[in-house]
């Protein structure tokens, strides 16, 4: 589901000085991530995390720049870039100007771009915020600080084996001890693989007691919230 063939390869570099990173050549097999964060430090970290997991990265400092990059900026459609193939958008929630949530809404409201998965990052793990983002169509919600395992898991379940990978991740979720109420009670039967294969379809209703599909396909986010075992594991790394 990763490849979105809508965009042309043509690119203009007039605004390249505003981009933190812009690779010269795009390998069509590599995942291209658009990272959005107003913090310079966080941009550098997320960029490195993505690169080390073999993603191509374009990092921008605002929602507006992200829309410009995609060619979605209403004010400057004539001056913007031709959209490059973007496989994933990962954005900070709290940003001046346009928040990550507003950016998410704009992307999901666009017929051209709504199929691009959007992941939200935030330092505050507020349940209502998480729910709001997931309901608006966010693929996942990662609590900062972002770790290598977060990015690896994200990449593998989004661009890896597909349903098989996700079922494995779901098992991991059930095994991990967690004392947060967010952990979904495991459903008696696994959800149909259709749910994972086409997230671009209209979102399933969230009325069931099981959390929205995104939680099931995103084992890392509930765990990262405050699972003590996960924190402990992290600190054991050299």
């Amino acid at each position: 589901m990763a490849k979105n063939g809508v965009f042309s390869r043509l690119r203009r570099f007039e605004k390249s000085e505003e981009m933190d990173d812009f690779s010269e050549c795009f390998d069509s097999d590599e995942v291209h991530v658009l990272a959005v964060d107003d913090s310079l430090v966080d941009r550098k970290v997320i960029e490195r995390l993505l690169k080390i997991t073999s993603c191509k990265v374009t990092a921008v400092d605002s929602g507006r720049r992200a829309l410009q990059f995609l060619g979605l900026d209403e004010e400057e459609t004539s001056v913007g870039f031709d959209g490059l193939k973007v496989d994933l958008i990962i954005t900070d929630y709290c940003m001046p100007g346009m928040t990550g949530y507003e950016l998410l809404k704009k992307i999901k409201g666009s017929s051209t771009f709504r199929e691009i998965p959007v992941v939200i990052m935030s330092s505050e793990n507020v349940l209502t915020r998480i729910d709001r983002c997931l309901e608006e169509g966010a693929e996942d919600f990662i609590v900062k600080p972002v770790k290598l395992s977060d990015v690896k898991r994200l990449k593998s379940y989004m661009f890896g084996e597909g349903p098989i990978q996700r079922r494995d991740n779901k098992r991991k979720l059930q095994e991990e001890p967690s004392d947060i109420s967010l952990t979904p009670s495991p459903p008696s039967s696994s959800p149909s693989s259709d749910q994972y294969m086409s997230p671009s379809q209209s979102p399933p209703s969230v009325s069931s007691p099981c959390s929205p599909r995104s939680f099931l396909s995103a084992p890392c986010s509930p765990i990262s919230l405050d699972s003590p075992s996960r924190r402990f594991k992290t600190s054991n790394h050299d």
Partner: protein
């Protein structure tokens, strides 16, 4: 000192920084991200952090000195500093931010002044510790 010796001594000293609570697990995450293609990653990020933080704290101090203090702006500054210190694992700085952010809600100017001084001190302390660890952050000399 050879580069390798410097790196080794820094790595040894980093353990002290972890033990003493200057750094937390997130710093280890950053260390994992350096490799042959990007050997100076940690140095680069940490330098960026110090530069960014000092600017933030300066802006915060300026805002505090105004006649009518803009507490929303101050809160935004602290939020930013908390975020970046968390991202690199600068634990003491991060905790200081969490603590003195409360003064914002209370609109307590003295508390905010005090809090920002403490945070500045922790920042400077961290800089010094890292430099003392073997000069692994050469850029610090520019603004220490």
């Amino acid at each position: 000192m050879e580069v390798n010796q410097m790196q080794r001594s820094f790595l040894e000293y980093a353990n002290v920084l972890f033990r003493e609570g200057f750094l937390d697990g997130q710093f280890s995450q950053l260390q994992m991200l350096a490799d042959e293609s990007n050997p100076d990653f940690v140095v680069e990020v940490v330098s960026l952090f110090f530069e960014d933080s000092q600017k933030l704290l300066n802006d915060l101090t300026t805002t505090l000195d105004q006649q009518n203090v803009n507490f929303k702006k101050i809160d935004a500054h602290i939020h930013q500093l908390k975020g970046s210190s968390s991202s690199i694992g600068a634990q003491r700085v991060k905790n200081a931010c969490i603590a003195f952010r409360n003064f914002c809600d209370q609109q307590n100017v003295e508390g905010l002044s005090f809090g920002s001084s403490i945070t500045f001190a922790f920042l400077f302390q961290l800089e010094q510790q890292i430099v003392a660890a073997g000069g692994a952050i050469p850029i610090l000399s520019e603004f220490s």
